[in-house]
């Protein structure tokens, strides 16, 4: 990250090769089309460059930080889209396909959604719903609690437990 921030040769390329697939995939899942996913990749790397000195290793690994920067931008994009549409449908599930998606994009997005679903089979339905809302939907625990009709403490526990179980389960399969 330091090399990237200082503009050292090859650092940007290395960071791109390492993280672009995950950011692009996140864009496909959350934003639903190739153009938006590509924009998300570009916007994320520009933001990483601008905020390189804000990365705090004590707060989490670099992988997570990069991913959460991308996720935050994707959520901003969804919110802008919601404001633009200004219809009741705009509050539909965030992974709804955009109307200008091609059949290939829809297929890829479906595949991504399927992979996400498979990865989350280790979770209970409640944990999965809470994590989806929090991770892909950018919802706070209070919002998750309200949407799921569960106590706040339960929502927090479900999100936390889901992340810990995913870590254990997915690492076992790698």
């Amino acid at each position: 990250m330091r090399a990237f921030a200082h503009g050292e040769a090859g650092a940007a390329e290395e960071l791109y090769d390492r993280y672009a697939p995950r950011i692009y995939g996140l864009g496909m899942v959350m934003l639903g089309n190739d153009a938006s996913a590509q924009d998300l990749v570009q916007d994320t790397f520009v933001k990483l460059l601008r905020n390189a000195d804000r990365y705090d290793p004590a707060r989490g690994k670099l992988d997570t930080w990069v991913l959460l920067v991308a996720r935050s931008l994707a959520i901003d994009g969804i919110r802008r889209r919601v404001l633009d549409v200004r219809t009741a449908e705009a509050s539909a599930p965030i992974r709804e396909m955009s109307t200008d998606s091609t059949p290939e994009e829809i297929a890829e997005t479906m595949d991504m959604a399927e992979r996400a679903k498979r990865a989350m089979t280790v979770l209970s339905d409640g944990q999965r719903a809470a994590l989806e809302l929090a991770y892909f939907g950018g919802k706070t625990s209070a919002e998750v609690a309200e949407l799921e009709g569960i106590p706040l403490g339960t929502a927090k526990t479900r999100i936390r437990t889901a992340l810990l179980r995913l870590r254990e389960a997915l690492e076992e399969h790698q």
């Binding site: 921030a5 995939g25 996140l26 601008r50 000195d53 989490g60 997570t64 991504m112 403490g153 992340l163």
Partner: protein, 242 residues
Amino acid sequence: MTHEEVRDQLAEYLLGDLDDVSEQAIARHLRGCGTCRQELASLSEGVSTFARAAHELDPPPELRDRVLGALSEERKTPDPVRSAPAKRPRRMGVLAWAAAFVAVVLVSGSLATAVVATGRASDWHAEASKYEAFLGALGGSNVRTAKINSPGTPSFAGTLVLYDSDRDQSWGLVLVHAPGFQGQAQVTLHSPTHTIEMHPLEFESSGDASTWLVTGADLRPFNSVTITQHGSLLASGTVTSD
């Protein structure tokens, strides 16, 4: 905050979904709690592992050149935070001037008193904590301190005080005592990715010296300081946990 209260909110902290006050409280707790840091690391691994499994997809090949081109263009554009040398105030409001002035006067006064009375740097470190409440009222999210020590001779001892403002008016203060040392010394703040050169220390005949900066840059990632002369390390310090 208790461990249970912190653990309860760690996932939201990691995902960036907490308000500023809660986030800062947890950050303070984490600095002094290895158990909670370990829990945070586990949650972070969970997000990272899940991302690899759930949404990794090769982007179109042409995107690589587009993104690298955008980054190249971005580097040509001066950025106030990334490039801020912060040797001297970049953007100072009345509040910042007041905070810096009062703090420098107060802390320097304490320093002088401590030096005269005891000559012990550890007293300066203790003094720093007295201003936390005062500085917090000025919009600071946290005050962090570090003891500065030298690995050899001449003997350097002192304190680094970092004030993390949530109003773009953060500041840092370095106070040192090095009996017999003369001339100037370079002071550098370090984060994992960046450095900030402060105004050089200019030692008085008493061996005392101080320097400070006020900046709109985010100082939170900066947690250590080095003092050098002609490239040789004279002294250093790292911020300690709460």
